[in-house]
Symmetry: C2
Subunit: 382 residues, 2 copies
DNA sequence: ATTTATCGGTGTATCGTTTTACAAACAGAT
DNA sequence: ATCTGTTTGTAAAACGATACACCGATAAAT
């Protein structure tokens, strides 16, 4: 199995004697005050941007002293005193899911821009892991939480941490039953509406929809978006397949996607009449379906059109490249950070909902449906 | 300017009126001491596991008091006092790269098991971002750093933070020129050796190798592994293609992979004689090549075999599913955490190297080469 | 001429722990 | 009885910043 290549000599060194040039001699606010011949209070005011309390003279003196000594305020001390840490806690089922990965990445970038750091927790939707993490937050002085795709069944769950400023991405404010909550969402119904419209315009009339179990806001809304969009066009909306298998596997890493794709494909194949196109809840499922159809000899998009949602970056990598509905991830990430850091800016005390519009990205997995014998009367394309 | 981002002082809001049901009334070590009728020192000894200084009587009293009050020691305070935070800093080019994503995920899991939290920094290989992050570490009391795939050109770079305990994943200890460093690596040469052997056993003799620019330990070693393995079999090792384009794009997210794949494919097509198989530096490149070949009408594996390295989870998702060489990510992650937390355990004062063996994962992108007119004398398969 | 406000600035208690120095209690050894 | 050592415990001084209370000037208002 494995081995430790140790570079030979195994001299067991004594545990690091005294301290040669040891401590980097942390420079404190006191040192700065001394160097600038001002009080520590003034230095404190300076590093907290309370410039209106400083004369220009002292201000520059402090500035140069800080620069010369390369002073950095000790965050632990500030935090102990103020009770707040410049840290955003980030709770996510798993960053291995590429959409979550991109979202976490963008949130981290936005947080850094705001002078914050990010504490990451992959919960795998395990309540114990999540609870432990959240419980620790107060102990380390973190007051800001962003949670991605929380279970919509956890009503009131987060109330236990009521002193947190919480933003939920992909969640319904009412589901979580919090006194105060800000949410950031895609307009999920519109997203699926765009997918339906795209397929409809191509001539498809029998359209299936494949989704993971409805444990998440987006999953619920996209399904309802599908039904609405189909009804609007007087099409049969009954071909919606909810995958009940592989729940946990899906949630964790979307890594079992081959099996999921296989299941989904067989479920779709069982539909009658057979659909000419499939809308997948997200790109991962779409990719799973795509791989499975292709290995079963069903040509995409000739025999079957497929469209996903997310525009995760891997979608470009499939062959044929996946047509999909894009979420504006960076914008959503910035909004989440902005919201969690400025809760006061919300219009009502119950919080706010920020909704983003999706965008159709046409690649190569959707085409006109095959001509085929059909008893149906084709409606003319609009 | 730098470390104190102020987030635009828009929230001039009055400092939160009184305190209605406000503070959750943090319970402190003093409260516990009072409740247990002991001194705070004893409580401190208790929560730091110094049981030899406690009588059994006091010990249980403290235990029940802690449990009843639900006491959690304030981390900011301990950190201020001790100078250490139970946090591991994690520096990674970008978690959007799926291999990095899985590695970060596994490291976070291992860190939590060890009672540590993880501070994430996506550097995008931007020295400014990375420096800022590392500079802040001391300010927040973080002493443990894991860095993934640092540039091998940054000799001595990390010396500026000599008080950190550093572990580098995918790095050469000598490259970094640190007085002390622990590394965790795959046996990269062996990995490519396995790939060559697999293709060789299938009958391939003209094998190309495609890699990103050689700015990383793994990239250097895999290329050298390719040359060695080819020479060992008396094969032509000159068909190694180093992609010099798209450096930054690659490094950040591997998202421009389609273009990279296109470039790589045309470079490979220009090779003469044309190879019958390609080894890719990693799965991302392999997937890019695969998609490009397929859309160009070149059948994989019939006309061209492809093999990658990593076994990133998406590799199962391609069609045909990608044959690859697996890195034991979880084991490597655990080793990195273990090493960074126990630096003393290293055999020498210069640090240690932990090397893991890869594993061949056979899927569907490699086959016997096509029969074709050839002036070469075929060596018989062994 | 007196009051009042604003500006620019300082001293110091305080946040919740850890840690050092020290003390009481009791054991056994002389 | 005294000496020594161990066990179990305590009191109090840090750690490095923040924020409150205060203070002397100068300016504005009455």
């Amino acid at each position: 199995m494995r081995f430790f290549g140790t570079l030979g000599d195994l001299n067991v060194m004594p545990p690091k004697s005294g301290s040669p040039t040891d401590a980097a001699e942390r420079v404190t606010i006191q040192d700065v005050a001394k160097a600038a011949s001002v009080s520590v209070s003034s230095v404190s005011n300076y590093i907290n941007n309370r410039f209106h309390r400083l004369g220009t003279e002292t201000r520059t003196r402090i500035a140069t002293a800080i620069a010369e000594l390369d002073f950095r305020p000790n965050q632990a001390a500030r935090q102990l005193k103020t009770g707040r840490a410049r840290v955003i806690a980030l709770v996510v089922p798993s960053i291995v899911n590429p959409f979550n990965g991109q979202m976490v990445f963008s949130i981290e970038q936005a947080a850094v821009k705001a002078g914050y750091r990010v504490h990451l927790c992959n919960t795998m939707r395990d309540p114990k892991l999540e609870k432990e993490f959240l419980d620790n937050l107060a102990a380390v002085g973190v007051a800001d939480l962003i949670t991605i795709a929380p279970l919509n069944t956890r009503r009131g769950y987060y109330s236990a941490w009521s002193d947190l400023s919480i933003v939920a991405v992909d969640a319904n404010r009412l589901d979580l039953k919090l006194a105060r909550l800000d949410t950031v969402n895609l307009d999920h119904e519109a997203a699926i509406g765009m997918a339906v419209e795209h397929l409809f315009a191509l001539g498809h009339r029998r359209i299936a929809y494949v989704t993971d179990p409805l444990i998440t806001h987006s999953r619920v809304m996209r399904l309802s978006g599908f039904k609405k969009a189909m009804k609007d066009r007087e099409l049969d909306d009954s071909q919606a397949v909810v995958l009940e298998r592989h729940q946990s596997a899906l949630d964790i890493a979307d890594a079992q996607m081959v099996e999921v794709g296989r299941d989904a494909a067989s479920d779709v194949a069982a539909l009658s009449p057979r659909p000419t196109a499939i809308i997948a809840f997200n790109d991962m499922i779409a990719l799973g379906l795509l791989a499975t159809f292709r290995s079963a000899g069903i040509a995409v998009p000739k025999d079957m059109s497929i469209i996903g949602v997310d525009d995760a970056w891997i979608s470009q990598l499939s062959f044929p490249a996946l047509t999909t509905i894009r979420q504006p991830i960076e914008a959503m990430a910035s909004a989440a950070v902005e919201r969690v850091l400025n809760p006061n800016a919300a219009p009502t005390s119950a919080g706010s909902d920020t909704i983003f519009l999706p965008e159709l990205v046409i690649r190569d997995t959707c085409a006109k449906p095959q001509e085929e014998a059909s008893t149906r009367v084709r409606k003319p394309l609009e």
